[in-house]
């Protein structure tokens, strides 16, 4: 017998809408931030989502195969409706509004959390999830970000390289340089990484290539960290602090 988390209940439409109104509220709140919906409001978005659900409930049910949890599936469906609304109602020109006409929603129950009040373990978990989604690129991201954020690089960080043993000597030289020369500027750091990865991956990339890749990845990770239900305001500096905590947490887990 299937777990009820994976069964779409057979009930009246209004019951289904009631069941998922919490998801609708969360998604509408999330996408109404930063004037994404302007000139529409959170209520407009909520109503749109509900109408779409009512129209499409049959196909939503029919498309559900029961392989994901129902709650997660409906989160994806409702999110899609929100993005659809934003796409359809994207303003064609930029309007300048007077600051007097623009007010922050004081009644919003999803507050913007200042970084200092954040629960770091939750953030570390979020970062770990993001890194997992990078798949095989994760190890490379971690080793490069360690250098960029001046976190100590260790030999096991490069064990993922299949030819580690063949290039053990240059790897250890690289690690010694990057850890001991604390006065290296970012250009010099990227030069060291370029030489290392060109050797390990048999490529001929320029310093600029790895710098661009690093910055692009960093921006993406910051965006993913910030763009969540409870909004964050990560910057490159605070990302570095988070990475520091992330590696410390991982090292202490490995030791225990």
């Amino acid at each position: 017998m299937r777990n009820e988390d994976y069964i779409f209940p057979d009930e009246a439409i209004h019951k289904t809408i009631e069941r998922f109104e919490d998801l609708v509220r969360i998604v509408a709140t999330k996408y109404s931030r930063n004037s994404q919906l302007f000139p529409y409001t959170q209520n407009d978005l909520s109503q749109y989502i509900v109408l779409r659900l009512i129209e499409n409930i049959k196909s939503v049910k029919a498309n559900y195969r029961g392989e994901a949890r129902l709650k997660t599936y409906m989160s994806a469906v409702i999110r899609n409706y929100s993005l659809e609304f934003i796409r359809k109602n994207k303003p064609k020109s930029v309007e300048f509004i007077s600051i007097d006409n623009y007010s922050i929603d004081q009644n919003s129950d999803i507050a913007i959390q200042p970084l200092k009040d954040v629960q770091w373990l939750v953030e570390i978990t979020r970062l770990e999830r993001i890194l997992k989604l990078y798949g095989s690129k994760r190890s490379k991201i971690e080793v490069v970000f360690k250098g960029v954020f001046r976190i100590k690089v260790l030999p096991p960080d490069l064990f993922y390289q299949p030819n580690y043993h063949e290039y053990e000597s240059p790897i250890l030289k690289f690690i010694a340089k990057i850890n001991t020369h604390t006065n290296l500027n970012s250009g010099e750091i990227f030069t060291l990484y370029t030489h290392l990865f060109n050797l390990l991956e048999s490529k001929n990339n320029s310093d600029e290539a790895i710098r661009k890749w690093t910055l692009r990845t960093m921006e993406e990770i910051i965006k993913l960290l910030n763009d969540c239900v409870e909004k964050r305001h990560y910057t490159k500096e605070s990302l570095g602090a988070l990475f520091n905590l992330y590696f410390e947490n991982r090292n202490s887990k490995n030791e225990s």
Partner: protein, 261 residues
């Protein structure tokens, strides 16, 4: 970063989000893993979906049940209870067995006493005991004899399978010369009641005689003028170790060995 135009579908994104939540992302389809590791749009979608689902107050039946940590406590408590129950039951059973044994012993003693009291003299009992003893002795002797026969048979078998040192030495010398390639038999343990196939190849295409010896160096079979093969029935051969020789003009070309099981 490369981005695959064919993004993950709605439920596929939800499946990945569920897997990410429980930390089991490696069990997902490889094509999905390859896609979202390269597609920022799908990565964003997966994370947003997961965070929306987690933020929702909708409790799944799994979340409303005892958490995995509490599961452990419940399992531990249940295991202790089961163990205690088992120990109590074992003790109870042991006690009841002891009690039954005691009762049986008492019954037996009472029966013996009754027999004695009813007029059977102790001599009758004493007479009965030796009779039983004799029977047991006879059974034991018979078993021992059987065992002895078996041991004798076993020793005969062992003798039959022993290597003949002289033949072994001759065999080593013949193997070193290597003038003929043996194709069959290509294993040393051969099943009884199956014909043995001898096949060989020699460069000079000489004609040989095949001689078969048991491990006591007694010739048990021979066949002459063989070109490169011969088949021998094993019906009349006893189990044991045999040496076979290929001989040309009284010169030994090859000595082989096999065990007939």
């Amino acid at each position: 970063m490369e981005e695959n135009a064919k993004h993950l579908k709605v439920e596929e994104l939800a499946i990945v989000a569920d897997a990410l939540q429980i930390g089991d992302i490696n069990s997902l389809k490889k094509e999905w893993q390859d896609h979202f590791s390269n597609c920022s749009e799908c990565r964003t979608a997966i994370l947003e979906i997961l965070e929306i689902a987690e933020a929702s107050k909708l409790k799944s039946t799994e979340e409303s049940k005892v958490t995995s940590k509490n599961y452990f406590k419940w399992y531990a408590a249940a295991s202790v209870l089961i163990l205690l129950g088992f120990l109590s039951w074992s003790t109870f059973r042991a006690e009841s067995y002891r009690h039954k044994l005691k009762e049986s012993q008492e019954e037996l003693n009472a029966f013996i006493q009754q027999e004695i009291d009813e007029g059977l003299s102790g001599k009758t009992l004493e007479k009965a005991i030796p009779e039983t003893n004799e029977k047991l002795k006879a059974q034991l002797d018979s078993a021992l004899n059987e065992n002895k026969e078996l041991k004798e048979k076993e020793s005969l078998f062992n003798i039959a399978y022993q290597d003949n040192p002289v033949m072994e030495e001759q065999r080593n010398l013949a193997l070193r010369s290597g003038s003929v390639d043996i194709i069959e038999p290509n294993k040393t343990d051969l099943a009884h009641a199956e014909p043995i196939s001898f096949r060989w190849k020699n460069k000079q295409a000489i004609v040989c005689d095949l001689l078969l010896y048991n491990n006591r160096n007694t010739l048990v079979y021979q066949k002459g003028n063989l070109k490169d093969h011969h088949s021998l029935s094993t019906e009349k051969l006893l189990p044991g170790t045999y040496y076979w020789k290929l001989v040309k003009s009284e010169k030994v070309v090859f000595i082989g060995k096999f065990k007939l099981l």
